[in-house]
């Protein structure tokens, strides 16, 4: 599988008479895009706003973040299963708008639910101390604020909101069709020097149900048993996120397509190692034998694939770390050298122990991506996008705070991707 990725770096986005690409400036026809979003009739209104890096702005009620991509050559379409057939993707040529994210923001009725399967607050601050928590403080964000028609089911809201975002992303990417991209990069797993060690990426995602789900070719991964996929499939949007359970630990669609670990493994392919593929697995099973089996199966796949090394990341918290740790254990016992990226605990002041809810002695090469447990104070901002108030502690019934004011958060669980574990960020824990 050989995929050529053409990047059109975007430095500015504005509204204008017609949607087009003017050098590195993305011009958007507001009404045409709005019409596209409203087409399916589940939304009463959509408000489209452009938020740029460096602005004193806060985006709230954030759901998914999607990078505009489109297939210009080769089989299938980007975001297969949602925008196209389930034809296997990862070959040919794909175009992307670099540095842009399409986001949906909406207040989905909480229905007084507790537990995991509910939408929780997601915040991006474009400047200030909150900015370091999210890759989206560095992107030009096209935010679709959706006002929902009442009385639809969670599943209906979930699906239509996702489709709106994906359609908008493809719509914007269309501006690149029959243009030559300023930069092209080829992604190909061909092995030039067989002597190098073989390395796999174990990508453990979260998928338990509505609002805490990941899709592969449009199919929910709730019943995933670890399987081997080609990294190029992910670059073409085969993985789409529907996970809003804990916004700090989630991996949005944008990151599935720009996974920093895959980027690293490709960068060093043929130099430090041979990148031989991705093992997709699911965490947060409810029974210990399912957890153990999932870990065993990952290790067995890696062994059958003659892997010498593995990198593992996992989505979600608590419970999901058990599969991840059992997987590290199984891999190491199979003689496969493993490193992992994990967030840590440590309590409000950093003196709490243990740093990990569950760990195995074999996990001797962990990289920290920070913690959600420290309190965080966000300064007031000039502009708020996605709503007026922030709903905290939905489990407690939720209390609303004016979103533009400075916010004192007792954890950073609401910071969008704040402890996401695919490793885009530079925040880390260290001993003092």
């Amino acid at each position: 599988m050989r995929l050529e990725m053409g990047t059109f770096p975007i430095t500015e986005a504005t509204f204008g008479p017609r949607t087009e690409l003017d050098g590195t400036r993305l011009v958007i026809d507001h009404d045409e895009l709005a019409a596209l979003v409203l087409e399916n009739g589940f939304f009463r209104r959509v408000r489209i706003e452009i938020v740029s890096p460096g602005e004193s702005a806060r985006i709230i009620h954030l759901l998914d973040a999607i990078e505009p991509r489109i297939k210009v050559e080769g089989p299938g379409e980007t975001f297969p299963g949602f925008l196209g057939s389930v034809e296997t993707v990862g070959e040919g040529r794909t175009h992307r708008l670099g540095g842009v994210a399409v986001m949906q923001s909406a207040e989905i009725p909480g229905r007084g639910k507790g537990g995991l399967l509910m939408v929780r607050e997601g915040i991006v601050d474009m400047t200030g101390p909150g900015a370091a928590y999210s890759p989206f403080s560095q992107t030009i964000n096209i935010v679709l604020t959706l006002e929902l028609e009442p009385n639809f089911s969670d599943e209906e809201y979930d699906r239509t909101i996702r489709l709106a975002g994906l359609k908008a992303a493809r719509y914007l990417a269309r501006t690149t069709v029959d243009r030559r991209a300023p930069q092209y990069r080829t992604y190909d797993l061909t092995i030039s020097c067989p002597a190098l060690p073989r390395v796999v990426y174990v990508h453990q995602i979260q998928s338990q149900g509505t609002f805490a789900r990941t899709f592969f070719y449009g199919k929910p991964l709730d019943h995933l048993i670890p399987t081997l996929v080609h990294p190029n499939e992910l670059l073409d949007g085969a993985l789409v996120s529907g996970n809003y359970a804990y916004q700090s630990m989630k991996t949005p669609t944008w990151l599935h397509g720009n996974n920093p670990v895959i980027e690293q493994l490709y960068d060093r392919h043929g130099r430090d190692w041979n990148f031989v593929g991705v093992i997709l697995s699911r965490g947060h099973f409810y029974g210990i034998s399912e957890k153990q089996h999932s870990a065993n199966h990952v290790a067995k796949l890696a062994r059958m694939w003659n892997a010498d090394g593995a990198m593992i990341t996992w989505e979600g918290g608590g419970n999901s770390i058990i599969e991840a740790m059992l997987t590290i254990q199984a891999l190491e016992r199979a003689g496969i050298k493993t490193t992992a990226i994990s967030y840590e605990l440590g309590g409000a002041d950093g003196t709490g122990t243990p740093l990990l809810l569950y760990s195995v002695p074999e996990a001797d090469a962990l990289v920290s991506c920070g913690t959600y447990e420290r309190p965080l104070r966000l300064p007031s901002v000039k502009r708020v996008v996605g709503g007026r108030t922030i709903r905290c502690d939905p489990a407690k019934g939720g209390h609303h705070l004016p979103a533009h004011q400075s916010l004192q958060l007792d954890t950073s669980l609401q910071m969008y991707c704040g402890t996401n574990q695919v490793g885009f960020g530079r925040r880390r824990g260290i001993d003092f």
Binding site: G81, S85, V86, E87, K219, H223, T227, S289
Partner: protein, 432 residues
């Protein structure tokens, strides 16, 4: 993964005071086994009978046939997840009793009247035209189980299956500490890289939300899984076996799973004519076409990632599940993988009708293993094990007929292992 399978050929089974292996004679303490079985509250009464190939004997209400296998060294247990933990199997030493099977006979109360969940009658004739499958030619220790009332189909399934597995395990224990007369090593050793690389795609149908699983993998209910790359040795150790609700013609028995002749043949050819890459366990019978297409595409992609030049595809079941079979052949050929497909035919009672329900142009190399549709008459027999009456068509008439008499079957579905999905035999269909 290196697995040594030691075979102890059994030429006679006799009832005795102690259960032990005496040369090629298996001596069995019937009462010990019966007590062991009757520990389960779901089983009201158990009897044990012996059925010898060639004798005029008919076993009815056949649920499954299990080969006694035991892990004597190496990780895990045989029939993992059901008989022990989910540790990955396929390594070490496994002992088997050759030429015999533990056959389960139980008539399920019709808790589920119709549809895919319903138990179907399955008949096993030890001689005559009905002696079609391999388990008609093994020494069969038949467990006749009377089920206690008041439990669910799931409970009965578990009880019946565990009875069979426990007895099989107990019998295999007689080989411990003995040197097997026959020994064979199964290992996917690195071979001449110029040999064509071949993968075996074994399709199995299952169904979500049934009270009792059609199929389990390490004891786990197989739900809507994507294709699974597994090591053939795992199958030899019983990681994949069917449930025990009914062993009609399109549901191969556990005995056939662990003795799959295609795996045996590919191992023989490994390093000689070809390089055996492994097995893809492929769940079929999805209920949405998109899912059928996706699973077919993913199987083909997996084969491609594994570097396959050729593939053998087999399927089990009827109707619906056949579609994935064909779609998979198509996807494989489109990936440039030369594919051989094995299937039974329909063709009606005389053979005039269309042999296959659905085809794709790419399916240009099909092996026929006979027909399901041809009518067959089973002559009267001297002895029936498992009851006196049976009901061939519960959905329609529900009429019960004497089991010992002549049975005119409009097709072969009610014959246990009546279809040779995996090519044990030489039966085929040719055009006249």
């Amino acid at each position: 993964m290196q697995l040594d399978v030691g075979t102890f050929p059994i030429n006679s089974i006799v009832f005795d005071h102690h259960t032990r292996l005496d040369g090629d004679t298996l001596r069995i303490n019937r009462h010990e086994l019966i007590q062991m079985i009757q520990e389960d509250p779901c089983i009201e009464r158990a009897e044990i009978e012996l059925a010898i190939p060639g004798e005029s004997t008919r076993i009815i209400h056949v649920c499954d046939a299990i080969e006694p296998r035991i892990k004597v060294s190496g990780p895990g247990v045989c029939y993992p997840g059901l008989m022990g933990p989910v540790d990955t199997v396929g390594r070490g030493v496994t002992h088997r009793l050759g030429g015999m099977a533990v056959v389960l006979s139980a008539e399920y109360p019709r808790l589920i009247e119709t549809g895919v969940g319903a138990a179907h009658e399955a008949i096993l004739d030890m001689s005559g035209p009905g002696a079609l499958g391999p388990i008609a030619h093994t020494l069969n220790l038949v467990l006749v189980l009377a089920l206690a009332s008041g439990y669910s189909q799931g409970d009965y399934n578990r009880a019946v299956q565990l009875a069979g597995l426990k007895v099989a395990h107990r019998l295999a224990q007689t080989t411990e500490g003995k040197a097997p007369p026959l020994r064979r090593r199964y290992e996917l050793t690195p071979v001449d890289t110029t040999l064509p690389k071949v993968v075996y795609i074994s399709q199995f149908y299952t169904q979500l939300n049934l009270p009792a699983p059609y199929l389990t993998w390490y004891g786990m209910y197989i739900t809507d899984w994507m294709p699974l790359w597994v090591h053939p040795n795992e199958i030899l150790d019983g990681a994949l076996i069917p449930g025990a609700v009914g062993g009609d013609a399109v549901r191969p028995s556990s005995w056939e799973y662990v003795n799959n002749p295609i795996i045996a043949r590919l191992y023989e050819a490994h390093g000689e004519a070809l390089a055996f890459l492994g097995v893809i366990v492929h769940r079929t019978r999805f209920e949405v076409f998109e899912e059928k297409q996706l699973s077919a595409n993913q199987a083909a992609k997996l084969a491609k990632l594994m570097g396959a030049d050729g593939a053998i595809v087999t399927w089990i079941g009827a109707g619906n599940a056949f579609i994935e079979g064909m779609l998979t052949v198509q996807a494989l050929e489109r990936e440039g993988i030369k594919t051989v497909f094995m299937t039974y035919e329909h063709g009606g009672q005389e053979g005039w009708e269309a042999p296959l329900m659905f085809t794709v142009p790419e399916a240009d190399a099909i092996i026929s293993v006979g027909s399901l549709d041809r009518a067959i008459t089973l002559p009267a027999v001297e002895r029936v094990i498992g009851g006196d009456e049976l009901c061939l068509d519960p959905e329609a008439s529900g009429e019960r007929v004497p089991a010992a008499g002549e049975l005119r079957l409009p097709w072969r579905l009610p014959i246990a292992s009546g279809i040779d999905h995996w090519g044990f035999g030489r039966l085929t269909c040719i055009e006249y």
